[in-house]
Subunit: 392 residues, 2 copies
C-alpha cells in the first residue's frame, strides 16, 4: 500500500478485550493535522463521540487519534473519566500543546464500566511503537467481529507532485446509514483546509457510508474522521480539488463495500442500484428499503431469485411509483419486466446468485433522473449466531 | 370457542399449494354482512386487495369471503382474471345478487402465475361444505409458514342479549405495521352499522396489528376484515358500543400477539412497553425501533440481557430524549438506571429470559403522558432457514 506521508501508527493489547488481541491504537500526524469528521446521530452517544466532536470544533485540528476497540465506553459511569484521563495521557506522552488535540474513538460492548488505567497504562508502549509501518496493525486492532481487515488506498499525481489517500475501517454489525456508521479513519498527505476537508468528507460519506446497511441498527459510537497532514507539500488547486474529492470518495466507497461484504455472518456483498426514479431521494429510499429487507437478504443468502420480495420492498419505501413501470434485474438477468415475471433460466440464475457479489438493479421506466446505489449483505444463520451470544 | 351466529365456513384443497393441505377457504354470512376493512399501504398490491377494496367501497357489505392461501396472486398477468372468475363463480354458486359482494383475499408467493380454474373448480365443493362448524378448518387453511392456528373469541352479555366476536389470522413473515399486516378475518353477530364498524376497526387495529412487527417487511396482500352478521339481533347501544369496540380490540390484540409469538423461526414473544415519553407518537416510535432492531431480537434469542442494544435502538428512533432519564426493565428487572448499568443478578435474569414471553419496559423519567406497546419476536436461525428457501 502507498501510504500518505506524515502519519505514524501503533497498536497494543491493553487488556480491555478478554482475548489477547490488540485492543488499543494510536494514529499520530507528525504535526497536528487539519481534520473533518462525521458522527452518529443516535441520541445515545458514547463519551468519546461527545468529546471528539467538541475537541474538533474547538481545535479544527487533530494531534492524535486514540482508539479503544474493546469497550464502547458508552452508558457507563466511567465514560467521561476514561476519555479525560486517556486523552491527557496521550497528550502528555506526545508533548501536544493541549489535550483537546487528542481525538478519542471507541467501539465494543455498551454499558460495561471500564477501568481508565487499562488505557493510560498502555499509552507509553503505544507511543514508543509509533511507526509509519504500523498502518495495517492498527487496521487490524480496531476490528471487533470483523473477519478481515478493511483498508483502501490510492495515489494521484498532481501538477506539483503526488498525493496519497489511505483509509481503514471496521464493521460489522450495527451498521446503518445516517452518519459515518462504525469507525473509519482516512488520511491524506495533501495540503487541505478544514473547510475543504468538510466538503470532501460530506460528499464522500453520502456515496459510501451513508449508502450502507448491514442490519438497520445505528451505533452509539460511529465516527468517520478525515485528516490531512500536508506532508506531501502538494496543495491541490482548482480542478485538482475535485479529483481529490473523488479519490477520497473512492477510498470511502471501497471501505463501505468491504464492510458490507464482511457484514456479520455475510457470505455475499449485495449492491443495489436504482435508476429512473423521480428524484435521487426517491431512488435512495427504494434502494434503502430493498437493502434493509430481511426477506430480500435471506432470499439472496439462499440464492433464490425471489424478485417478488424485491418489488414488495420497493413498494413500501414510501415512494410513489406505478409497479407496471418497474423492471428488476438480478445479476444482469431481467427477472421482472413491467412489474410482471420475466422469462429466464432459473437454474442458471441460481448459479449466478451463488457468486460472492450479487447485483440488484431496479429500473423505473418513467426514466426520471433519480438514481442511487446502496451496499448491503445477505442475512445468514451466522448473523444470529454472532449476535445471540456477543456478550456472554 | 363461542362463535358468532350467522356465519358458515368451508375449506378445501384446490391444488394451488404443492403439498396437499387445504389452500382455499370460504366465509359466508347468512345475509350480506355490514363490513369494514384495512389493507396494505404497499405501492405494489395484489389483485385481490385492489378488488376487495373496490368492492367494499361500492357495496358496504360482504356476501362471501374467498381466501386463496397458496399464491399471493400479485405481480402476475393472471391476477385480475383469477379474481374476476373466482369471485363470479362464488357469487353464482351462492346465488348472490352481485359478484361485487364477494371479498377476495390471498397470500403466498409473489409473481407466480395462477390458473383460475384451480379456484373455480374448487368452488362447488367449498359451497357444499359450508358449515358453522368449520371455523377452525378455515383458520388452519389460511396458514402459510405458520406453525399453529391463530384464533380468538369472546362473548359479552348486553342488555338485550349476548353477542359474540371471533377472529382468525395468519402470520408469520412480512409482518410490519402501517396496515392490517397479513390476513385477518373478524366476525361478530352484533347489529352494527358499517360506519361504527370502521371506527371500531380503526381503533382496534392501531393497538394490535399496527403495533406488531416480525421482520419489518410489509406485504403486498395484507387485509384485515371485520364483519357483522347481526344474527344475534342485539344492537349495542351507547356505552355498549364502547364495550364492543373494546372486545373487538381485545380479539385483535390476541391475534396480533399470536402472530408475534409464531413469527418465522421465533421461540419467544417480545412485548415492548414504553412509558413517560412526551407524546404517544414518541413512545410508539421508540417501541417500534426497539421492536425492529435485529440486535435486540438476536440478544433476546440468546437470553442475553444486553440492554445497551435496547438503549441504542431507542436512541435512533428519531425521538428527542435525554439518555440519563431512561430506565430499562427486562422481565421486571431493572437493567439500566438513568442511562447507566444497574446492579442485577445476571444468571438469574438470563434464566428469566429463557421464558416464552419476554417483557421489555422503557421508562422515561421525564414522566410524559406518552405510552405505547409493541409486539415482536426474537430473531433466530429458524427465520433464515425458512426464508432462504421459501420458494425453492
Amino acid at each position: 500500500m502507498k501510504l500518505p506521508l506524515g502519519f505514524r501508527y501503533a497498536s497494543a493489547y491493553a487488556g480491555i478485550r478478554k482475548i489477547e488481541k490488540d485492543d488499543i491504537a494510536l494514529i499520530v500526524p507528525d504535526q497536528p493535522a487539519n481534520a473533518a469528521a462525521v458522527f452518529t446521530t443516535n441520541m445515545v452517544q458514547a463519551a468519546p463521540v461527545r468529546r471528539a466532536r467538541k475537541n474538533l470544533i474547538e481545535m479544527g485540528k487533530v494531534g492524535a487519534v486514540l482508539v479503544n476497540a474493546g469497550n464502547a465506553n458508552c452508558a457507563t459511569r466511567t465514560g467521561e473519566r476514561v476519555v479525560q484521563l486517556s486523552c491527557a495521557a496521550v497528550a502528555k506522552a506526545l508533548k501536544l500543546a493541549q489535550k483537546e488535540l487528542v481525538f478519542p474513538a471507541s467501539t465494543g460492548v455498551i454499558g460495561v464500566e471500564l477501568n481508565p488505567k487499562l488505557l493510560t497504562n498502555a499509552v507509553p508502549k503505544l507511543v514508543q511503537e509509533l511507526s509509519p509501518e504500523n498502518f495495517e496493525a492498527v487496521a487490524s486492532a480496531i476490528m471487533t467481529t470483523d473477519t478481515c481487515m478493511k483498508v483502501a488506498s490510492e495515489e494521484v499525481p498532481f501538477k506539483d507532485g503526488t498525493i496519497r489517500v489511505a483509509g481503514m475501517t471496521k464493521g460489522s454489525g450495527m451498521i446503518h446509514p445516517n452518519m459515518a456508521t462504525t469507525l473509519a479513519f482516512v488520511m491524506t498527505d495533501a495540503v487541505v483546509s478544514p473547510k475543504t476537508l468538510r466538503e470532501i468528507l460530506k460528499a464522500g460519506t453520502e456515496r459510501s457510508f451513508n449508502s450502507l446497511t448491514v442490519d438497520g441498527d445505528m451505533s452509539t459510537n460511529d465516527t468517520l474522521l478525515l485528516m490531512a497532514s500536508g506532508a506531501s507539500q502538494v496543495k491541490p488547486m482548482l480542478k485538482e480539488k475535485q479529483v481529490l474529492a473523488e479519490v477520497v470518495a473512492w477510498v470511502l466507497e471501497s471501505l463501505a463495500e468491504q464492510i458490507a461484504a464482511d457484514g456479520e455472518g455475510a457470505r455475499k456483498l449485495i449492491v443495489i442500484r436504482t435508476v429512473g426514479f423521480n428524484t435521487c431521494e426517491d431512488a435512495r429510499r427504494v434502494a434503502r428499503a430493498v437493502a434493509n429487507s430481511p426477506l430480500v437478504k435471506t432470499a439472496i443468502a439462499g440464492s433464490d431469485p425471489n424478485w417478488g420480495r424485491i418489488l414488495s420492498a420497493a413498494g413500501y419505501a414510501g415512494v410513489q411509483f406505478d409497479p407496471s413501470d418497474i423492471d428488476v434485474e438480478l445479476q444482469k438477468t431481467v427477472v421482472c419486466n413491467s412489474g410482471l415475471a420475466a422469462e429466464y433460466d432459473e437454474p442458471e440464475l441460481k448459479k449466478k446468485l451463488d457468486e460472492k457479489e450479487v447485483r440488484i438493479r431496479i429500473i423505473n421506466k418513467k426514466n426520471g433522473k433519480g438514481e442511487a446505489r446502496f451496499f448491503t449483505c445477505d442475512l445468514t444463520e451466522g448473523y444470529i449466531q454472532i449476535n445471540g451470544s456477543y456478550r456472554t
